[in-house]
Amino acid sequence: MLPDTLGHFVISNDLFFGGRFVPETLMVALLELEDVYAKAKEDKKFQDELTYYLRAYAGRPTSLYFAKRLTEKLGGARIYLKREDLLHTGAHKINNTLGQVLLTKQMGKPRIIAETGAGQHGVATATAAAMFGLECEVYMGCEDIERQSLNVFRMKLLGAKVNPVDSGSKTLKDAINEALRDWVTNVRTTHYIIGSVVGPHPYPMMVRDFQSIIGQEAKSQILEIERRLPDCLIACVGGGSNSMGLFYPFYEESKVRFIGVEAGGEGIETGRHSASLGSGNVGALHGSLSYVLQDANGQIIPTHSVSAGLDYPGVGPEHSYYKDTGRAEYVSVTDKEALNSFQLLARLEGIIPALESAHAIAYATKLAPTMDKDKIIVVCLSGRGDKDVQTVSKILEE
């Protein structure tokens, strides 16, 4: 079972990913969280309660939809979409926030904080906080506040305080820095709901487990519809929570290909991208060792993506493990390709995907035509695109 008790995904004697690279102030909170989570995982009452909220409140299970017109247009493998965009709040993020809010209640902490890039995790956290009556503050980079203003307003409506982060690149990375500083200061009363499979142990493992519902459902759904496993799973990777959630339940099915799609931004060759796995080096960022976009001196470098949720220089440690062990392949698509797929899916299937998810669609449109018609691809449609409509309309006008 991965990771080991220290939260290490071990590659060799000299290399592992994950761990707990955090200030001492947080160590006790992380150890407590690890303990509370380990108990909750085995506790039927906790799992039943989580299942109840996922079904009755969030709208699980989500459908596995055969994208007929997209498949016909591409003329290759059959494409299924795992419709996480249909969930309450509009993305897969709610799977994790409901789990972590329930843990927060168990720990007896009255306040939660979160970081957000695209705003989806912030909205999901604010939503769960509102439902459970917890105080909630969300950190968001100033640049993201501008490009995802709709989600900022949603969070405020839900009663959360949105704290603009003006430091560094003013995006997701800096929002996490500021949330960590808040947590270091208020750790006694506050739980930090990290929104992806990143951060110090136990977050990458715990968020993976909460998101694994995506892959579990997809597995039984495809078996029911097609009577067999898919040939390939495709999902976008920023921090990597929707992709890990889809991949993980298929880990032992070695014939199922995993493809993670990173944000190629303006093109890898331009340096303006967010492909940590594709062109990063191993380093420590936000509490764990993983692939990181950094310079030769170990300074984290600015990233770019049209999609705020993928605009991040790090990635979850388990993805780094999948990369180095060859379990998953990681590719990238550009802003432009993602924008094209954003429109393509809208026109062919009547589904407006989040710009993040449009990256996964974009790669599927490249791959499907190269595969036989009897092959099956499952794409994680991690979120809906309402939040991106303004951004996209602005870009298309230009």
Partner: protein, 264 residues
């Protein structure tokens, strides 16, 4: 025994508390940092903490964040910090301790870092995002080379972590007096004395107190309970206030002298 251990023994004999001022290397520029170190030594500083700039300093408040950002704009890297140490070592025997986040050290290579730190006259290292659980390689190499590996304890660390960190830390133990990040604060947290009394029960090592220690009054308070007072943001902020003035070094060294007086 290295220069840090010697300093604590000497001060203990004199009944004095060590004053450890912090500087962000490369803020406002490398040359000034060098001059400030020498000025601080003259003003009575006992050990100097040299901050290595990092793009994502999660344990630091706005004052040091800003200094770090500026140092990075000046192109300062860990290599520059080590050559500054080398340069200073030609002129002074004051112990030099690097305060650096883990990633610059990891990118440099841990073995190479320890080797070069020792060669360039560095005496110890503090890595605020590296708890002992993740430090085994650094500790092993540092111990062999004689580089002190200083670990931090915080108000949230329970007795079992007091013992853990006492066993791992060499040179001294860095007690973070606040639950929070670096910055100027009005008062020394009132639980500090009690925590240190508990800590003394499990360790013979010198104990330094930092984070929020901002004035001669604070230093005097720390002196009555600990072996070292560490002052960072208050000094960096003073540098910011006197940027571009011809008497920057004089002014900040004068503040250091006042802080040192409070340790007698």
């Amino acid at each position: 025994m290295n220069r840090i251990d010697e300093t604590f023994i000497r001060l203990r004999e004199k009944g004095e508390t060590a004053l450890i001022p912090y500087l962000m290397v490369g803020y406002p520029d490398l040359e000034t940092t060098g001059k400030l170190v020498l000025g601080f030594e003259k003003a009575g500083a006992d050990i100097i903490e040299l901050g290595v700039p990092f793009s994502d300093p999660i344990a630091d408040g706005p004052i040091i964040q800003l200094a770090s950002e500026q140092a990075l704009k000046n192109g300062v890297s860990l290599t520059d910090v080590l050559s500054l140490a080398n340069n200073l070592r030609q002129q002074t025997t004051i112990p030099l301790v690097l305060m650096t986040y883990y990633n610059p050290v990891f990118a440099y290579g841990i073995e190479k870092f320890v080797r070069d730190a020792i060669t360039n006259g560095v005496d110890g290292v503090i890595v605020p995002d590296l708890p002992p659980e993740e430090a085994s390689l650094l500790e092993k190499v540092a111990c062999e080379a004689g580089l002190s590996c200083i670990f931090l304890l915080t108000p949230t660390s329970p007795p079992e972590r007091m013992r853990l960190i006492s066993q791992h830390s060499t040179g001294f133990i860095y007690y973070v007096s606040v639950t929070g990040i670096t910055g100027i604060r009005k008062m020394v947290c009132e639980d500090t004395g009690e925590y240190i009394r508990q800590l003394r029960l499990v360790t013979q090592q010198p104990i330094g107190v930092g984070f929020g220690i901002s004035s001669p009054e604070h230093v005097a308070q720390i002196s009555s309970i600990a072996d070292a007072a560490i002052v960072g943001s208050a000094i960096v902020s003073l540098i910011t206030n006197h940027l571009g003035e011809h008497n920057l070094i004089e002014k900040t060294s004068q503040f250091v002298a006042e802080l040192k007086k409070a340790t007698y």
